[in-house]
């Protein structure tokens, strides 16, 4: 960002922007844990058509681009998975009622946000943030409960719409998944933290190995740097991935 003398209003405005972005991402974490995915997309993500078109959700296996496909996976597919799990639980335990209120029963997802690093663009219209996320996910099955540590890096682009910060590009890179009580040294080296391919049923706009911890630290996504306008920084959407910038992919 260019060095300039800022007024108190501008300076406190930028501090306030950082606080609002922290709250926005905090809400994302809780909405996700509470299965409020539809509400999250309606309230926390971009709403303007031009931004919805370029919105993206990236993970190790590639990118979903556009709010339509993001909603299809994040809302509809999530409900389908929960229903399949509930069907199995109800088959094993007839006393359990198979109803929408019981979707997600026995599961608990906590993707905690830590180590916040947020850069507000010089023009104040966009921002980039990075977080480490030490998390756990727990799922119930008819014969067991599966609890996993899940450590990830979040890289997010935000854009201001009518004065409110919204999630525009969300990238979640999983570094490792480890069963609670599992000895990491027993995991085969060849195992990637998550499957190289997207989960069954998930539509992906750009399938690729976008993130891996095979070489330990991943230089992608880039650590945010001070910037003036979004055009001069590296996007956390697919257009910012070095493999796609080269015109190819893994």
């Amino acid at each position: 960002m260019t060095k300039q003398v800022m007024t108190d209003d501008v300076r406190i405005g930028r501090v306030w922007d950082i606080l609002e972005i922290k709250n926005l991402m905090g809400r994302h974490a809780y909405y996700h844990a509470y299965d409020m995915h539809a509400e999250e997309l309606d309230e926390l993500w971009v709403q303007k058509p031009e931004n919805q078109k370029s919105a993206s959700f990236g993970q190790n296996w590639g990118y979903q681009v556009g709010m339509g496909i993001i909603r299809k996976n994040y809302v509809d597919l999530n409900i389908k998975w929960h229903q399949e799990d509930l069907d199995k639980l109800c088959d094993a335990d007839p006393s359990l009622e198979n109803c929408p209120e019981n979707l997600g029963i026995g599961s608990m997802l906590m993707h905690i946000l830590s180590t916040p690093y947020i850069e507000i663009a010089g023009d104040g219209q966009t921002a980039q943030g990075m977080w480490y996320s030490p998390g756990q996910v727990t799922f119930a099955y008819p014969d067991k409960v599966n609890a996993l540590w899940m450590y990830e890096k979040y890289a997010v682009d935000f854009i201001k719409e009518d004065g409110e910060w919204k999630i525009w590009h969300l990238f979640v890179g999983t570094d490792f998944i480890l069963g609670v009580g599992e000895d990491m040294t027993k995991q085969p080296v060849s195992d990637t933290p998550v499957p190289d391919q997207e989960p069954e049923g998930m539509d992906i706009t750009i399938p690729m190995q976008a993130y891996t911890s095979r070489y330990n630290w991943s230089p992608y996504p880039a650590i945010p740097r001070p910037y003036e306008t979004f055009g001069e920084t590296i996007s956390n959407g697919p257009e910012g991935h070095q493999e796609l910038q080269k015109g190819g992919k893994d």
Partner: protein, 257 residues
């Protein structure tokens, strides 16, 4: 900060300072995870010689010693690791920055306490860091993972209108293999101490050539009460009136040095 006599503009100054110091601390964690140590020292550490970096195992007690331990030795370790790994996994030759081939030290930040001095020229921060260290491709040919819970105490100063580190003190309380029962009480929970059996294939943090040897802090023990280190920041007026995270603790307190 508790001083209610500050003007609105002075409060804004401190809010900006606290936010900036938090960013520096996060940036440190991200750089450290990637082994990007030399750039860290150049970009957001003081230009002064009298800066310090401390851990249980001792203190790098000036800039020269800090660069030697945190950048030079770490980069030499990376070369050593690379030469051991590349015959096993030739694909690592395509990794552009080989410093992270040692491991990923993922030190997370939580529970911040940040105090900005009344004169606005310095700040102090304290964090818990419930972290972990992992690696995938390594000379051991097996994934490695270790929990590492520590506390960070940082002194920041305003230097040429830019906030930078002056001192960073790391107190490691617990470390143990991922993921084992009762890991804080495993025999190797004192990973940073130097008296355990060494894995000759991996650089040991206790081998770094610190100017002042430790221990400056002790890992969890069933014969020890919790230690108040790094000290909890309190409101203060000027850096000269408060304690510094360069202050030697541990064995030096006990010996009255």
């Amino acid at each position: 900060m508790a001083n209610s006599k500050l003007t609105l503009s002075e409060r804004i100054n401190r809010a900006v300072a606290a936010t900036t110091c938090e960013k520096i601390m996060s940036l440190h964690c991200l750089y450290h995870a990637g082994g990007i140590h030399r750039e860290e020292i150049e970009e957001f550490w003081t230009k002064r010689e009298d800066c310090t970096w401390s851990h249980n195992f001792g203190q790098m007690d000036n800039k020269t010693n800090y660069i030697e331990c945190y950048a030079d030795e770490q980069e030499a370790n990376a070369v050593q690791i690379y030469e051991q790994v590349v015959p096993i996994y030739p694909e690592v030759s395509k990794v552009k920055d080989r410093r992270a081939l040692i491991e990923v030290a993922m030190h997370l930040l939580a529970s911040p306490v940040i105090e900005v001095a009344e004169d606005g020229q310095s700040a102090k921060g304290l964090w818990y860091t419930p972290g972990c260290i992992f690696s995938t491709l390594n000379p051991q040919k097996a994934k490695e993972g270790m929990w590492m819970w520590e506390r960070y105490g940082a002194d920041f100063i305003l230097e040429n209108n830019k906030w930078v580190y002056l001192n960073l003190k790391v107190c490691c309380d617990m470390a143990g293999m991922m993921d084992a029962d009762n890991w804080p009480f495993m025999e190797d929970s004192g990973e940073p101490q130097s008296d355990k059996e060494e894995d000759s294939s991996k650089p040991d943090s206790s081998d770094v050539s610190v100017g002042i040897p430790g221990p400056l802090h002790y890992v969890l023990s069933n014969t020890q009460v919790p230690q108040e280190r790094p000290y909890i920041p309190q409101p203060y007026r000027t850096f000269k009136e408060t304690y510094s995270y360069a202050t030697l603790t541990g064995i030096y307190e006990e010996e009255g040095k």
